[in-house]
Subunit: 127 residues, 2 copies
DNA sequence: CCCATATCTTACTAAAAGGTGAGTACCTTA
DNA sequence: TAAGGTACTCACCTTTTAGTAAGATATGGG
């Protein structure tokens, strides 16, 4: 898992393509969670495999502990991230993606890769 | 354009897969632009073809004029959206995606479709 | 003369997001 | 004895983001 390639639709589902999203639509909430600044970074980081709190802190460079905790909680509640804590001292907690989280990260990766590849041109105003 | 399917990588580019993004990385800025709440909706709406200001206002339900203006400006500066204004009264301005914008929307569409399809399960806490 | 139209801009305010620093618990190492 | 590691939470404050409401514009129609 994480190794395959995917074939993806280039159009929106039919029921979205007219008025686009209604304002109170649940998918807007979900979209906000999964496209949040730190959410994306955590999901991407975890797409490389299980990681501990301190790993994530380091890899999502610049994140504060508060935001890390908050983001992980949201992702866990959404069933995208799995939290396994061992009752040892010092504490040990491992975070990983659920199946649903992997599904999502597979869609996020091309997006992020594209942003990475196009960032300089975009910000320098090059056509 | 907009009709093809694409084959996408399931892993991050090699130079991203270690420390994930450095904090000041330009791709973070770009990512913030393209994953912004209203940015996504505008890009999706325009993926269906050229539209006027008032169309976009209606289709991105809930957006204020202020945010519409601001979002369009950012997307235009980033070379994702093209603005064609005709000097008539009342004014007429058509917005459309650039080639780069289409490239991006092709990546956004599967993500949004996924969010749409999974929203209820996610928010109801169903596995 | 005044209103409607379409595309914005601006000033003010409210809400959301995020940073900082402290505190907790307990064991290990120096 | 003291410091350090690990994974947090909490309270407080600042910064950023977004909403609201008003105004600018220029013209044709009643």
């Amino acid at each position: 898992m994480g190794m395959e390639t995917q074939v993806l639709p280039a159009r929106l589902p039919a029921d979205l393509s007219d008025g686009v999203f209604p304002a109170g639509c649940p998918s807007r909430t979900v979209l906000d969670h999964i496209t949040s600044k730190w959410g994306v970074l955590i999901l991407l980081s975890l797409s490389e495999g299980e990681q501990r709190w301190s790993d994530l802190r380091r890899r999502a460079e610049g994140i504060s502990e508060k935001m890390l905790a908050q983001t992980l909680k949201t992702l866990e509640r959404d069933g995208l991230v799995l939290r396994k804590s061992q009752p040892v001292i010092p504490p040990r907690v491992d975070y990983s993606l659920t199946d649903r989280g992997y599904e999502l990260s597979a869609l996020l990766i091309p997006l992020v890769a594209w942003a990475y590849n196009n960032a300089d041109e975009i910000l320098n105003g090059e056509r």
